[in-house]
């Protein structure tokens, strides 16, 4: 288990969600949820299927607009945000079902993650020489660092659609990292992986947190992984927050045992 | 995997094929007369009878007389599908075989070929279609469009209307509707129509029919019903014609006040309306029916021998079939003239151009050709006038067939010619540098 270092617990709040509610038609996906994510921590969000975890991530990065509540990110409070603004603000994301650009190579996928950072104009792009090429090369270098970091050197030219699932997940993580985010949202990064792949992925998640200092919020079903990785855990059930605290606290929480862990037994 | 390799091989073969076809077929002895026809595509209905008429008359000459002046005609059709691009492709393909004349049979294709003709030294015959301004022989020495231009046609229609109304000044205050195919062809008469409207004080209402809406005119005819024009004039083509006649009948428009140009008067145009179409009028340039001796000879030498593509004998002698025959008569006569002028048997495009400038078909000559009173005498084509502004007549649908209902109507050349020369000037102005005529005019003719 990863003990929450005092540094993190006392840390500055990077993102706080206050009283957010979200519904589709008549269906309430999130009901009045508040929590925060501190700088540098790994924050896990757990809960049974349909608890509203993914919707919560979608709200954070602006893909869904909550009907009520406020979100404060890096000190800025907002009620509404477009995904573009979220990305620009430093929120990156991976998806539950891998959402890679299937027709492109792993390298190009990760390069795409750097689109926001590249700004050479259209005319230079047409010529693909001079500044455009220099920019391309500069970002390629950064991307290669990520490729090296994630140990996907051997597959950089492979079209991602042809990669096994585990590697696709890794490429997707690479694409998110390419954005150099302040906050990285991981939606079930280890779903559908075997034990070895899970271990690898856990190592990468820790390394990302450690090496780049990226704050991470992750949804995960594997309790072992969650307890090992995260500093603090948020538990949702039917769109409601039922517990929030360190892994130990959450594990001991009555509500959680009833609502979540109880299900498993 | 196998299939893929097969396809790869096929593609390689096709590439080879493309290389091979650059080699033109060996030239035959004779006079090469290509026919750009369209037996396919959306306008095939109009194209097929014309193509048959053109093809069959020339074939008949080959069969009966062994060609013209002892020179065999090499007749070759090239399918354009009434598509400009394919037409140009056809032209490029036949160009190398030295055609003596090209019949584009499409205004669109004609427009493409006009500038090329002078360069390639190939005369273009656009019989009563194409660019009206090309009647100006001084500007367009290589283009011929006898016997009449669209503007002539419109003026003849107005003459007919004037006749019925008891004078064109009676049109004052009335409305005349103009329904037309929305394209270059249908738009060409508009300047003259507007001038007439000014001259005679009527209101001209325009009803354009876009190509995609040819069979869906009901909304437009509602407008006609509202506007209640005294006369309706139509410049239609293909499927537009029968639909218009049916729609006119539907709104109870008096069909004997509905007049089409010569391209709106085929048997296929009126037949679908049947008895409902009774009374519909259309201009015509040529005689009807198969009773002419020459057409009987076509029957004898061509159709009966299975050398024609007509699907039934009934269709020989239909209006557009005879139109095709007319077109071929013009070609044949021009070739004959060229042989006469040059004394050569195998004439070239340059010779035939001179032949066209010397084109004369008197009443007697029509008779000689086995086509008595088939069309108005061609007597006004000259070096400066490549059209001649000849007469046409009015025909009427009696429910089952066309009937001639007027005498030959002469166009208002005085109104048409200045407009036309102006248009030619305009064309030259817009296409600078346009080459000046260098071809001499044969005095003898």
């Amino acid at each position: 288990m990863r003990a929450p270092s005092s540094e993190v617990l006392a840390g500055q709040v990077l993102l706080s969600v206050e009283n957010v509610s979200l519904s589709f038609g008549g269906v309430k996906a999130i009901r009045d949820v508040s929590f925060d994510i501190r700088k540098g921590e790994i924050r896990a969000i757990i809960g049974p299927n349909g608890a509203g975890k993914t919707s919560l991530l979608n709200v954070i990065n602006g893909f869904y607009q909550p009907q009520e509540g406020r979100i404060t990110f890096r000190g800025e409070t907002r009620e509404k945000m477009r995904p573009y603004a979220a990305a620009r603000g430093g929120i990156a994301r991976t998806f539950q079902n891998v959402a890679l650009f299937k027709g492109m190579s792993a390298l190009d996928n990760i390069m795409t993650g750097r689109s926001l950072k590249m700004n050479r104009g259209f005319v230079w792009q047409l010529l693909r020489h001079g500044p455009a090429l220099a920019e391309e090369v500069e970002h390629r270098r950064r991307v290669e660092e990520i490729i090296d970091f994630l140990e996907i050197n051997a597959i950089r030219r492979v079209q991602v659609g042809r990669l096994p699932y585990g590697l696709q997940k890794r490429v997707e993580l690479g694409r998110a990292l390419a954005m150099e985010p302040d906050l990285l949202l991981l939606d079930e990064p280890m779903a559908g992986m075997n034990l070895e792949e899970k271990e690898d992925m856990s190592r990468f998640v820790l390394d990302v947190n450690n090496h780049y200092g990226t704050t991470i919020a992750l949804i995960e079903h594997d309790m072992g992984v969650v307890m090992d990785l995260s500093n603090r855990v948020l538990v949702l059930d039917y769109g409601r927050k039922i517990a929030d605290g360190t892994p130990d606290e959450v594990k001991a929480d009555r509500n959680v045992i009833d609502a979540y862990l109880g299900v498993a037994h | 995997m196998r299939a893929k390799q097969l396809v790869l091989c096929a593609m390689a073969a096709a590439t080879l094929g493309m290389g091979i076809l650059a080699v033109p077929a060996a030239a035959e002895e004779g006079i090469y007369v290509p026919l750009l026809t369209y037996r396919t595509g959306p306008f095939a209905g109009s194209g097929i009878p014309i193509a048959n008429g053109m093809h069959d008359y020339l074939t008949m000459l080959n069969e009966r007389d062994g060609g013209i002046g002892g020179a065999k005609l090499i007749i070759e059709e090239c399918e354009t599908g009434y598509d400009t691009k394919k037409g140009v492709e056809c032209y490029e393909q036949i160009k190398s075989k030295h055609p003596v004349v090209v019949n584009p049979y499409s205004t669109g294709i004609t427009l493409q070929l006009i500038p090329k003709a002078a360069v390639d030294k190939i005369p273009i015959l656009s019989m009563a279609y194409g660019l009206s301004a090309s009647a100006d022989g001084n500007t367009f020495p290589w283009i011929f469009n006898p016997p009449a231009t669209y503007w002539d046609g419109l003026s003849m229609i107005f003459k007919y209307i004037g006749d019925k109304e008891g004078g064109l000044d009676k049109l004052k205050g009335k409305t005349i509707g103009y329904i037309f195919f929305d394209g270059g062809y249908g738009r060409e008469p508009i300047p003259l129509l507007e001038q007439f409207a000014k001259d005679y004080g009527f209101t001209a209402k325009q009803y354009p029919v876009p190509a995609a809406e040819m069979q869906n005119q009901s909304g437009l005819w509602l407008n006609v019903r509202r506007d209640r024009p005294a006369w309706m004039i139509m410049w239609g083509w293909g499927a537009m014609n029968p639909t218009a006649i049916k729609e006119a009948a539907k709104i109870n428009y008096p069909l004997d006040h509905f007049i089409g140009v010569w391209w709106s008067g085929s048997d296929d145009d009126a037949r679908p309306a049947g008895h409902d179409g009774k009374g519909y009028l259309a201009l015509n340039l040529n005689g009807l029916g198969a009773s002419y001796p020459a057409i009987q000879e076509i029957m004898k030498y061509v159709v009966d021998k299975g050398k024609s593509q007509v699907d039934s004998k009934d269709r020989v002698g239909e209006n557009f079939y005879d139109r095709g025959v007319y077109n071929s008569v013009l070609v044949a006569e021009a070739i004959r003239n060229a042989q006469h002028i040059t004394g050569k048997k195998e004439v070239t495009g340059e010779d035939v151009r001179r032949g066209f400038e010397a084109l004369k078909i008197s009443e007697a000559r029509w008779k000689e050709l086995g086509l008595p009173d088939f069309a108005a005498p061609i007597d006004k084509v000259s070096c400066s006038d490549h059209n001649g502004h000849h007469s046409a007549y009015m025909q009427q649908w009696d429910g089952t067939k066309w009937v001639k209902v007027s005498d030959w109507i002469a166009p208002m050349k005085d109104k048409v010619r200045p407009l036309l020369e102006e248009a030619a000037k305009d064309y030259v102005a817009k296409n600078q540098p346009w080459p000046a005529r260098t071809e001499p005019c044969d005095k003898s003719s």
Binding site: A87, D108, V137 | R187, A423, K430
Partner: protein, 358 residues
């Protein structure tokens, strides 16, 4: 078999990012270009140049345009014909308004008109996708077709309602109009098409190309990594229409010589779409291959019976040609739904791994 990759290693990202990283490919391209520029003009007959090479090149350019939109950005358009028309009419207006300007300038500038129009008609792409968008682009096709016929200003009030291309020279050599030889026009078209292909290739291999493909493959993910969908999509429409516009201008000025509105009707749109699909979505090479096949095949089929001495009348040949083209399209789709470019890629891959099958 022909590929010898041994010893071709990259020590810089510049070299690694080259569009043709393999030496053999670069040699191949150089040879093709040399043939196209130096050999063909002196050997090909007028018919081949005029009826095959020029239209194939021009339509290849239009197909590249559509491919940028459909193959790269994933937006289906059935309005290419209309956009080509905008280019043609725009070029005509420019060329007649400024007769003293070198004709290549209006040809290239005309692309901006169609780009602007393309952006306007690309607006629905922000809300609708797939076939809905395809059908919506038909609106532009029909509307533009209507405009070409209905706005006489576009044809300088020509009575014929058609564009007629005046003769224009380039260093004293006529390159448009009837006096321009097929070879001259071919060389001009070739130069423009090659240059624009190069630019397109640059575009799709860079940031913009990646953004387009991202939007194509997974638009939600693209949005969430900070790609602005509307900008990206409209840019695709603009660039695509630009290419179509230049192709349209060349179609009239360097090929047909005169044109009516029906040159840019819906059939033109379909024709270009065919080329893109048969050639291969998302491949510039495919655009060329598609153009060669779709334009070349009918001509071959049409002239084949004649040159083989089979007596078939022209209409029957035409009918058969339609049937064969139709059947071949289906066959191609069945055999290789990803288009000729994929076949080429497979072939190339086979050559690279030769003698191994994979």
């Amino acid at each position: 078999m022909l590929y010898r990759e041994v010893g071709q290693y990259k020590t810089t990202y510049e070299a690694d990012h080259a569009i043709f990283p393999l030496l053999q490919d670069r040699i191949g391209i150089a040879v093709i270009l040399a043939i196209a520029f130096l050999f063909v003009p002196f050997t090909a007959s007028d018919f081949v140049v005029n009826s095959m090479l020029i239209p194939i090149l021009i339509f290849a350019l239009a197909a590249i345009g559509l491919n940028l939109l459909t193959g790269y950005a994933g937006l289906i358009s059935l309005g290419t014909g209309g956009f080509m028309g905008v280019g043609a009419y725009g070029c005509y207006k420019l060329a007649t308004a400024f007769p003293q300007v070198n004709i290549l300038v209006p040809i290239l500038l005309s692309g901006f008109f169609s780009a602007a129009v393309g952006v306007v008609f690309g607006l629905p792409s922000l809300r609708i996708k797939g076939f809905y968008l395809a059908v919506a682009t038909l609106a532009s096709q029909f509307f533009l077709s209507w405009c070409f016929v209905r706005v006489p200003w576009l044809v300088n009030y020509n009575v014929s309602g058609a564009i007629e291309v005046p003769t224009r020279t380039f260093f004293g050599i006529p390159i448009t109009g009837p006096n321009a030889t097929a070879t001259t026009r071919y060389l001009v078209v070739l130069a423009v098409v090659v240059a624009m292909t190069w630019l397109a290739s640059n575009l799709v291999h860079g940031r913009i190309g990646r953004m387009w493909m991202a939007v194509r493959d997974m638009d939600i993910a693209a949005e969430l990594i900070g790609i602005r969908l509307y900008r990206t999509k409209l840019l695709a429409f603009a660039v695509s229409s630009f290419y179509a516009g230049v192709a349209g201008a060349m179609l009239v000025f360097l090929w047909l010589g005169a044109s009516e509105a029906d040159s840019f009707d819906i059939n033109a749109s379909f024709l270009v779409l065919f080329m893109v699909i048969i050639g291969g979505l998302g491949s510039l090479l495919g655009s060329y291959l598609g153009s060669v096949l779709i334009l070349g095949l009918p001509i071959v089929l049409r002239t084949l019976p004649g040159s083989l001495g089979v007596p078939l009348n022209s209409a029957t040949v035409e009918h058969l040609q339609f049937m064969i083209v139709g059947a071949l399209i289906i066959l191609f789709l069945i055999v290789e739904p990803n288009g000729l470019a994929r076949l080429w890629q497979i072939g190339k891959q086979k050559l690279r791994v030769w003698p191994f099958p994979y």
